[in-house]
């Protein structure tokens, strides 16, 4: 077993699990050396009061357990990454297991470096990674004797952290971490605010679009994307408006997919222009397509979109399939009193065509600012409607834990195939997912940032603050200045969007001006 029963590190590079109180003074001493001008000790101590969902609760006892061999291996790898990334002269980590009394140290990190900046930064970085990746769990025992294992919603990101032999072990990439420990890997880039539909939930009927010169050029977008990739962004979603109304989007795709560090480029479209462009997009290297389709009845399509075009969307989907796109997703917004009758037909259509269907709750970003919570048809209700028609839905394990959707397979389909689909493999069976931002907010595992068509960084759809990248781009600013802007934007991201709370403030922009 790769654990130690002693609390004393053998050298200044310990990565240990122990069952006794941690001697923090000794740990700090152990990393001191002649090359170090700065030594930092971080200790995490157990708290007597834990914030609960409804109320704070008193904890009388805490017990930690670990998958010990794996925990030791992960700790050692993180230590090595920290030493390499921050040029540390020494680094030691100890985590305690078993019962830990309130107020005692459960984890301690000591770092030393020539200068304090690296020593501080490394300790913080290590703590973030430890909390997310090391297989250690806490069991809280309340005063009433109730035991609760803590399994937070955020945590391991299998897609990003689980590459056993990838080079990330030896050359770690920087990460965009916010004040709540959320790591940001996804950038949504809007390329235009224009659209060839006028969907009520997104855009007003008498819309005034931005002048062209206020939109970022493709050259500017690619530069921002490159800087973002250098900070840990791995996936890019191109949105709008309707991205395909902007000329040569395939050319933008072609440039984005070549950026080092970008693993996936996807695009969300209403499908109207897809028939003409699907093959070009595929050739350009676009990985995935999301097509918005809320209704299969022409009447309702037109009522929602305030334009016609259902037949063109269907032709676009057929063209996308023919072009070789796999894992095509259909996004359908659910609105009470409007879309209930479309739920089963959409599911039948997607099952037949092999598309993955996702229902999205109606959000307060509509063009007419007339959203009320009474119009929210919850994912739960949609699921019940589907289950009544198709039989039970089976929850599906997905490779990408950061995705907001909760996916299900139809019980009469093969579950394993849907799971494989989420991992990017060809879909043989279409599942159905629910994105419930209103009734089941996923803020606690949100990994998204946004760049609006006019070059503003946003850290949330519902953010009321923006960071002006266009200004930096157009006044001769450096890449480092763009990077700083993005880091600032991430740093102050709020814990949650707060819809339904008294403090919620509707953003001044509607969906089409942000990028859905």
């Amino acid at each position: 077993m790769a654990t130690s029963d002693t609390n004393t590190p053998r050298a200044s590079t310990a990565a240990l699990l122990v069952w006794e109180p941690i001697d923090t003074a000794h740990l700090l001493d152990s990393v001191a050396n002649d090359a170090a001008g700065a030594n930092v000790l971080f200790t995490g101590t157990t708290r007597g009061v834990t914030a609960g969902v409804l109320t704070n609760r008193l904890t009388s006892r805490l017990v930690y357990e670990a998958h010990e061999p794996l925990a030791c291996a992960v700790l050692a790898r993180l230590r090595d990454e920290a030493v390499a990334q921050y040029a540390l002269t020494a680094c030691a980590i100890i985590h305690r297991l078993g019962e830990v009394a309130v107020g005692e140290t459960s984890v301690a990190i000591a770092t030393s470096a020539p200068h304090r900046r690296e020593a501080f930064a490394a300790a913080e970085w290590l703590m973030e990674r430890i909390k997310r990746e090391v297989p250690i769990w806490k069991c809280e025992e309340g005063a009433d004797g109730d035991r609760t294992w803590v399994h937070p919603d955020s945590g391991l990101r299998p897609d990003s952290d689980v590459h056993p032999d990838s080079e990330s072990c030896s050359t770690p990439r920087p990460v965009l971490v916010d004040g709540f420990g959320r790591v940001h890997t996804d950038l949504r880039i809007s390329v235009t605010d224009r659209c060839n539909l006028r969907c009520t939930y997104c855009m007003p009927l008498d819309v005034a679009f931005k002048p062209r010169d206020e939109l970022l050029s493709y050259e500017e977008i690619v530069r921002v994307a490159r800087v973002a990739a250098g900070l840990g962004i791995r996936s890019i979603r191109i949105t709008g408006g309707e991205p395909l109304v902007r000329r040569e989007v395939a050319e933008l795709v072609r440039q984005l997919v070549t950026i080092s560090g970008i693993e996936e480029v996807s695009l969300t479209t209403n499908g109207l222009l897809l028939e003409e462009q699907a093959a070009d997009l595929r050739r350009a290297g676009l990985h995935r397509l999301n097509v918005s389709l809320d209704a299969l009845s022409e009447d309702l399509f037109e009522r929602i979109a305030r334009r016609q075009g259902l037949d063109r969307v269907l032709a676009g989907l057929a063209a996308a399939k023919a072009a070789g796109f796999q894992s095509i997703r259909i996004n359908a917004v659910s609105i009470r009193g409007l879309t209930e009758g479309e739920i089963v037909p959409l599911a039948q259509f997607c099952r037949r065509e092999g598309f993955h269907l996702r229902f999205i709750e109606f959000m307060p970003l509509d063009g007419e600012s007339s959203w009320t919570d009474g119009q929210v048809l919850s994912g739960r209700e949609v699921r019940d409607i589907l289950a009544r028609h198709f039989g039970p839905l089976v929850p599906v394990v997905r490779a990408d834990a950061g995705q907001p959707a909760i996916d299900y397979a139809y019980a009469d389909h093969d579950i394993a195939n849907v799971a494989a689909d989420a991992g990017g493999q060809p879909a043989q069976a279409a599942g159905v997912g629910f994105i419930d931002p209103v009734t089941q907010p996923f803020c606690d595992r949100c990994d998204r940032l946004r760049l609006t068509a006019d070059g503003q960084f946003r850290n949330c759809l519902f953010s009321t603050t923006e960071w002006d990248a266009r200004q930096v781009l157009r006044t001769g600013g450096s890449d480092e200045e763009i990077a700083r802007l993005l880091r600032d934007c991430v740093l102050v991201k709020r814990a949650a969007h707060g819809i339904g709370t008294p403090a919620f403030e509707r953003p001044a922009r509607a969906m089409y001006q942000i990028g859905g």
Binding site: V63, L156, R398, A420
Partner: protein, 94 residues
């Protein structure tokens, strides 16, 4: 149940996969491991099979990662019968 050092159990038979469980998952089914009849497959298959056999842990399983030996693996990784495989639910150390 707490802070147990790993127990060494007899090796599973050729077509049986022993899957180690931890924390809330072990507590939910009252066992630290489950055995599945296994003809090989990916980590994704393993999770689907486990969810089917132990529905009570399915929601937590959906948020878990698979580990083989001292490495986390992605869902497309192959899981051999003799793998030292564990399900890692969201962690809460620190």
């Amino acid at each position: 149940m707490h802070a147990s050092r790993s127990t060494s159990a007899p090796p599973p038979t050729a077509d049986t996969l022993r899957v180690s469980l931890f924390a809330g998952m072990a507590a939910a089914i009252g066992r630290r491991s489950v055995e599945l009849a296994w003809e090989g497959g990916t980590a994704a298959t393993l999770r689907s099979r486990l969810a089917a056999e132990c529905p009570t842990i399915a929601p937590l399983l959906a948020r878990s990662t698979v580990a083989i030996g001292d490495r986390y693996v992605t869902d497309d990784a192959l899981v051999p019968c003799d793998a030292d495989v564990a399900i890692i639910p969201p962690v809460s150390g620190g």
